[in-house]
Subunit: 208 residues, 4 copies
């Protein structure tokens, strides 16, 4: 039976939601299983029926982030503007909008885990990479949609990775300073770079 309209989410979902939130807020190592249990309203036995270990739970959380990438992160951006290049900056703006009210606490949930568990959990690393790849995939798609507005020889994949670099590196500094300035500075330089690229491409087109 699927849950009725009035019931709470099923056990597995409650655990994943609680774990995702707590890993984001406190980090993986700093989050005790007992806290997840309490927040999800679940017994240890139930959790260990569904997930063989805390590490496996982390893997499921990262699978879930992959599923949520489009509906939560990318769809709102695509809804905001149809201009593919503006979508890049709308995406970066969206992170700003999310974290500014929190004084840039928390940071990117994937990025945090990347630095915390990449080395110690070999089976988790690919899942982080898949999240990054998915993220960059959308940016790459947009950049390709920009067509000849950008220089022909510009490597769209590399630029997409750079956009992710700007988001992650910028958020890291924003968290450390509890201020938007370094994030805004980095996004601003990226915008300046894009402006120069657009200009060069424009010059290239007219000269052909």
């Amino acid at each position: 039976m699927t849950p009725s309209a009035t019931s709470q989410p099923d056990t597995r979902t409650r655990i994943l939601d609680a774990a995702a939130r707590l890993f984001h807020e406190q980090g993986f190592n700093a989050t005790g299983v007992s806290t997840i249990l309490r927040e999800a309203g679940v017994n240890p036995g139930s959790l260990y029926n569904l997930f063989p270990s805390k590490d496996a739970l982390l893997a499921s959380v990262l699978e879930r982030y992959k599923e949520l990438l489009y509906p939560v992160v990318m769809a709102p951006v695509e809804a905001r503007t149809n201009d593919p290049i503006e979508r890049v900056f709308a995406l970066l703006q969206q992170y700003r909008d999310w974290f500014l009210p929190l004084d840039f606490r928390l940071g990117c949930p994937i990025g945090n885990l990347a630095l915390e568990v990449a080395d110690s959990h070999p089976e988790i690393r690919p899942l982080i990479q898949q999240n990054f790849d998915g993220w960059c995939g959308f940016v790459t798609k947009w950049l390709k949609e920009a067509g000849d507005r950008l220089p022909r020889d510009l490597d769209r994949d590399q630029v997409a990775q750079t956009v992710l670099t700007v988001m992650e590196g910028g958020l890291m500094q924003a968290r450390s300073s509890r201020s938007a300035s370094a994030y805004d500075a980095s996004v601003g330089q990226l915008r300046a770079y894009f402006d120069l690229l657009l200009e060069r491409a424009s010059a290239g087109r007219s000269s052909t």
Copy 2:
């Protein structure tokens, strides 16, 4: 008696060295005090005579990183080239050289701690920020030394923060993929941006 040439470093230094290394390799939360003690060859009482808590030890480690910033990170870069703009890219290259042999394990010790403890340890956050500020300070200085090779209206501070963003964001992806590609891509785009800036400044100078 001061330590003879053959004796090992003093207790405080042994602890700081072991803690810095382990925090870098495993993260702060994943490193037990007992591991630090074993690696430093020290008893618990000795550690707690010198550092009131594990958190205070972390603070001292970050103070030490501030002290080591110039001799370990910046001096080798300044020794490699006198061209201020090349120094920026020599700095980014140096991180590549350090971490490529490790398949990009470990990552930036400051950046890792930034994401792991920025929220949970309010007293640590400023120390991380001071490390970032120190790092950016050198880059800013170089960019100013570049004088009119760069556009007059270019904000050197913001560009320096962007260089740090590229390093941290690029390393994060390099750790996740165990490959240099995203790091190289990000540095490559930064280089392309600089090339466009240098070109524009050059054009600006000749037109005056």
Copy 3:
């Protein structure tokens, strides 16, 4: 399944029994949690599932003393004699009988804790007071049952507190001397006081 006749008491009871005994024998601060665990045959996690802290365990031990006051301390006294005044001295005799075979080691478990933790553990102090109040309550009840055998204007509550004073003060000296003499002396003077009170009340009755 409820414990069978042959099984040992449940974990909570085993912990409370061991803790009560060790706190009595060694004092609260001198008793390590690990000793309680060993004596109760229990793991640390089990203890901390049932009691949030060593202090909370102490509180539970004192709650248990309140529950045991009647069946262990007062019921045997009431069974020994029906004369309410003799019950007072039977109570004092019972402590003598308990501790004489131990050469007056250990002392009153409540009194010991009163002096050891009253100041340092504000949440424990009321529990000690409740034990004292319960104890005095029985003595007060008996004194009231003595009716006009005691002077009408005699404050039964104050006399009951004095009986407790004699027990605690007497036991303290008995422990220090490893002998009954000061205890017996104090009880003897209390008996002499009662004899004078009984005599006075008797005179008062006949004169009316």
Copy 4:
């Protein structure tokens, strides 16, 4: 060289003062040697030169209490009144005056130690007993000075022990309740007892 008028007390005295105060305030087990060192402004080596162990320090503290018994406790009482029986109650009043402003925190330093270390420290027990004996000795002396105001067959030693019982048992309850009531009640009943004794002795004298 003896300490000059302006210097602070010597090391040994500073340690004994700090230890006595802290043992009184916190108990023996709850007081760390390091706290004594800090409060006395002394290094561990110095303390262990003067006292072989924490236990030996406790012994010296109790020796000191014996020395201070007359000047600190008894002399003020003897100065207050010349009536030997009033001295008994002046002594009990003095404890009330000391501890009322503290809401009956702390309690009798000797009594506290009696209950905390009597069993665990066999070498300390006699010192506690000597303090009690000294205390009772003064009371016995006064009671003897009362001569035939008290019944001839009254055992002065036993009454003196009862006075100590009242003080210690009363203070214990006062600490637990943070109020004077049980102490006052016990002293009040002792006073009533004395009144009856004085009356009886008076009757005895006139009938002879």
